[in-house]
């Protein structure tokens, strides 16, 4: 093979790679659009009036996740399955947002932590790398950390809306989460930074609970806490 042929060959490879990236980018843009719609929908729970119809919002969000599944389905077809990490950067961000949104819906529905398996199912992707397009554990964790910060905001706003029980339940939930994260040895990467933020979420919620407690608004506390 001559030098020219060699470079043509490589150039062919590079073009193919760029085409793949272009295709991925397009699907990811659509995914981001849908993610933004789900977010707007769920954000309304922070409004004083928003607390009333959480179940109906969750239902609507669940519907939008159907669309998400269509897109993730399309995304998988855009590149060879075993090269997931080659293109990871393209969808990492949106996948974290979607993991968060799935976790948020599940929390609003059941006040429990979504598992990695559940998120994968909601997004119609895999848990194990070997089985295909999957949810990286760090992306799942990042999504969970976004949830924590959303819940600290929810704790504040639920007090404004007159719901004094929710902060206490959020507090318990987030404390368990915090215990979980303490088990991890993180590198100095974006996930670590996000995890540092969790401490502030825990702190904020603790302050809300404190405010309720000194005003005698948290009578449930003792019972729940035990």
């Amino acid at each position: 093979m001559s030098v020219t042929e060699m470079f043509s060959y490589i150039q062919g490879f590079l073009s193919a790679d760029q085409d793949i990236r272009e295709d991925i980018r397009k699907v990811v843009q659509v995914l981001e659009q849908t993610a933004r719609e789900i977010l707007t929908l769920l954000q309304s729970v922070h409004q004083p009036t928003g607390f009333k119809d959480i179940p109906s919002k969750c239902l609507k969000a669940r519907e939008l996740f159907c669309t998400v599944r269509n897109h993730t389905g399309e995304l998988k077809t855009k590149f060879p399955a075993e090269q997931y990490y080659r293109y990871h950067e393209h969808w990492r961000f949106v996948l974290q947002r979607l993991a968060f949104l799935a976790a948020f819906v599940v929390y609003l529905e059941t006040e429990s932590l979504v598992t990695r398996e559940e998120v994968a199912k909601i997004l119609a992707i895999e848990v194990d790398r070997e089985k295909g397009f999957h949810l990286d554990v760090e992306d799942y964790l990042a999504g969970v950390l976004i949830l924590a910060s959303e819940l600290s905001r929810l704790a504040v706003n639920s007090v404004t809306a007159g719901d004094y029980g929710r902060p206490l339940r959020i507090s318990n939930f987030i404390n368990e989460l915090d215990s979980g994260f303490r088990l991890l040895n993180l590198k100095n990467d974006p996930l670590r930074k996000r995890y540092d933020g969790l401490k502030y979420d825990v702190k904020k919620i603790e302050e809300v609970v404190y405010d309720l407690s000194i005003r005698g608004l948290a009578k449930e506390l003792e019972t729940v806490g035990e």
């Binding site: 215990s179 303490r182 825990v202 702190k203 919620i205 302050e207 405010d211």
Partner: protein
Amino acid sequence: VGQKPEDCMNQDSAVIAAFKVFQQELDTKHDKYERLVKSSRDITIESKRTIFLLHRVTSVPDVEEILTEADVKLDSVRQKIGQIAEELRGEDLHQFHRAITPGIQEYVEAVSFHHFIRHRTLISLEEINARLVFMRENKAVDEVTCPGPCVLTFQITPTDYLLGVADLTGELMRMCISSVGNGDMDTPFLLGGFLREIHDGFSFIGNTGPYEVSKKLHTLRQSLGKVEDACYTLRVRGSEIPKHMLADVFSSRAAHLDPDDAMP
């Protein structure tokens, strides 16, 4: 001109002989450097994991258990530092300093964090170095210079100590925020005072230290700010406790609050 290849064949010329020596000398040094880099990376990782482990003290009942576990981990780090000391036996530490400084700084960070949690004081450089004394089986070769079991020491430099302590402040800040989150009312104030002392120490040193120290001052100042803010919040909200609830709150959640330290 055409004869050059032949000249070069003169493999036993004095020049070639000398360069063969240089080759060996340089390769030996380079190999040693590389081994030290690898040890340093190992030390960094293990020290970081120790720090993560130590952060768990704010959320578990048995602090002592974690401290012991961390000490075991640190012991294994010290063993690795022992290997470095072995590697540097008879060498000039500073010749290979760049290879090991990241690991050593991380160890200082971990060991001083451990010490703070146990003793609530800043570990001194002497105390750190005192634990870096290693007994070694003697190799037959240098039996003359060192009879009986050989004592090997590793001396962390003041600069590495300083840089490790600078990083420690970040961990202390994290611990402080966690404490507030866990409803612990006195640790934050304690940490605030300690961090302020370290901050004042660094500003006393100012720009007389090495450049790397100055670089970390900004982060240090930010950490101090976060801790001071946390203490401020605790104080402000503490001011609001309705009179009739005061007793309750004190008994239920701030029983061990030291009035001397916490109340101005």
